[in-house]
Amino acid sequence: MNATTMDSDTAPPRETAPGQSELSETIFRYLCFGAATLLLAALAGVVISLAIGGWPAFRQFGFGFFTSSAWDPVQENYGAAGPIVGTIVTSVLALIIALPLATGVSVFLVEFCPRNIAKPIAVAVELLAGIPSIVYGMWGLFVLAPWFAIHVQLPLMTDSANLPGWLSGLVAGIPNGANIFTASLILAIMILPYMSAVFRELLLTIPSQVREAAYGLGSTNFEVVSKVMIPYVRRGAVGVVMLGLGRALGETMAVTFIIGNSHGFPHSLFDSGSTIASTIANEFAEATSDMHTAALLALGMVLFILTFAVLAVARLLLASEKH
């Protein structure tokens, strides 16, 4: 008979004993199921406890919790607009700073860099991701902030009369270097390695024939990169952006060190402020009243939702990139 038409009836009988009995097969299946369920249960537990814990604050302040910038533990009056805006502004700014850099690094590594140098540079960039965030924070506080105060903020202050009004408003603030902008800078450095690593992977998925076809039409390097390669990974690149944003939103220690930690609504780029994560880190140990704790848990819930939404969008976009 023809070997290729062999079906289960003619399959040779198994000569070795099966490794698992029926019972152990079942146990194995349930163990795997259990492991998966446990993770989901933990996630659900976190969400539920955040919601329950934060509920008193949501109930008492209602929608005002999101719009008021009064954060007054003495008067028991909590409005989270300051930290929420601080979180979004620092994250978006960090993204604006990091995105061109990440694009440059990954395009350079994929397209221009000789292969024997590309590897060390890629590793160096990835090492940036391994630096603990508290080290970034210290560096920010002791090195970046003083430098920034002396070399950027002070000259701008003395020159402020010469600046156009909108710009001097944007850079107003106490010249101590601990502000929204320096926090964004630190964040940018922290999210850069993740973004460039993922972006590099994306660029490497472009078939070499597509690049060659673009070069074959007489394009220069810049034209190939900007008109063909980046559009080719467009949707995935949005995913990269979201991934960076997700990381920036939740970053705590480094930001706590350098953002200045004032609760009000930040009024300029160089004004001190706070983020959700930095507020929680600063105050949780000292939250003695129930309402203070509830307000912090409610903040945690807001951060959770923000981050979850951003990462979910990123996943969706990255998934749709795999044609």
């Binding site: 000789p114 292969r115 078939p207 024939q209 597509v210 690049r211 060659e212 076809a213 673009a214 070069y215 074959g216 039409l217 007489g218 394009s219 220069t220 034209e223 008109k227 063909v228 559009p231 080719y232 467009r234 044609h323």
Partner: protein, 292 residues
């Protein structure tokens, strides 16, 4: 007496059997060596390409025919460690000499104005179009795909560009199928349509030579037939070099055929002669299906 081929066959068994075209040569490789790092993959290859003819390159996998094609428009230049020596003459000018000596040569000739730009590598590639094994549409609309190369080198009005796009798509026999959806993505077309889109994109810049690297190997028989028909018609305006694994395809559409083996040109002759009266035993074995 009865051995008609005697004048062609050389005593040296390694020497290629070359029948040079009588017509005007648009592109010619002479004594071309090619190296991937330290590995040599072409050995002294000669390849004359006659204007407005289809030249096919055949041979078993790894024989160097795709490498030869990639050398002709200097795509290999993108990859460090790949290098070619010898001469590649486009309209009598050597492409392999460096840019500096090229512009000196051109200044002496005084015909700089005829070139779209300096005859540097990018501009050279624009004069020698290439279509790959797998369709390579860019992630943009059908219209923009065709206009891509033109926009790099010329400023055209919308109306002129419309004309160029339509003409190119017509010549690639794709116009009727896509004229109502020019603004949809080129990635949405079928494989055969994508390949003809790539042909349209390649000819939109009016190259002198069109190189095709197994353009039909990923296509079904109907799309292949359409593509072949397109190529036969394009011969009116362009000189075409096609690498193919499909011997029938080479026999059907080409005017000249080169048989390559292990990095050498074994036999280069008018297609009918090569298939009907191969001189080299290697060629004979290959075209009669004895190996490869």
């Amino acid at each position: 007496m009865n051995d008609v081929a005697t004048p062609i066959v050389s005593r040296d068994p390694e020497a290629p059997i070359m029948v040079r075209p009588n017509g005007d040569l648009v592109l010619e490789a002479r004594q071309l060596d090619f190296f991937y790092g330290k590995n040599q993959s072409l050995y002294g290859v000669d390849l004359p390409i006659e204007r407005n003819k289809i030249t096919a390159l055949i041979g078993p996998s790894g024989c160097g025919k795709s490498t030869l094609l990639r050398t002709l428009n200097k795509i290999y230049d993108l990859y460090p460690g790949q290098n070619a020596t010898g001469r590649i003459l486009l309209d009598g000018k050597d492409l392999l000499t460096d840019r500096a000596s090229m512009s000196r040569l051109k200044e002496r000739d005084g015909d700089v104005a005829l070139e779209p730009a300096n005859l540097d590598t990018s501009a050279l590639r624009a004069r020698i179009g290439m279509v790959f094994q797998k369709p390579t549409p860019f992630p943009m609309s059908i219209y923009d795909n065709v206009a891509f190369g033109v926009r790099l080198y010329f400023k055209k009005s919308k109306a002129e560009m419309d004309q160029i796009v339509e003409r190119s798509l017509r010549r690639a026999a794709l116009w009727e199928e896509v004229k109502d959806k020019l603004n949809t993505s080129g990635l949405g077309l079928s494989g055969g349509q994508q390949q003809r889109l790539c042909v349209a994109r390649g000819i939109a810049v009016e190259p002198e030579v069109l190189l095709l690297d197994e353009p039909a190997s990923a296509l079904d028989p109907v799309s292949t037939a359409k593509l072949e028909e397109t190529l036969m018609e394009l011969r009116e305006d362009f000189s075409i070099v096609i690498v193919t694994h499909n011997l029938q395809q080479a026999a059907r559409i080409s005017d000249y055929t080169g048989f390559m083996f292990l990095g050498r040109m074994i036999e280069f002759r008018p297609t009918a002669e090569l298939f009907e009266r191969p001189q080299s035993t290697r060629t004979r074995d290959y075209v009669t299906g004895r190996f490869g």
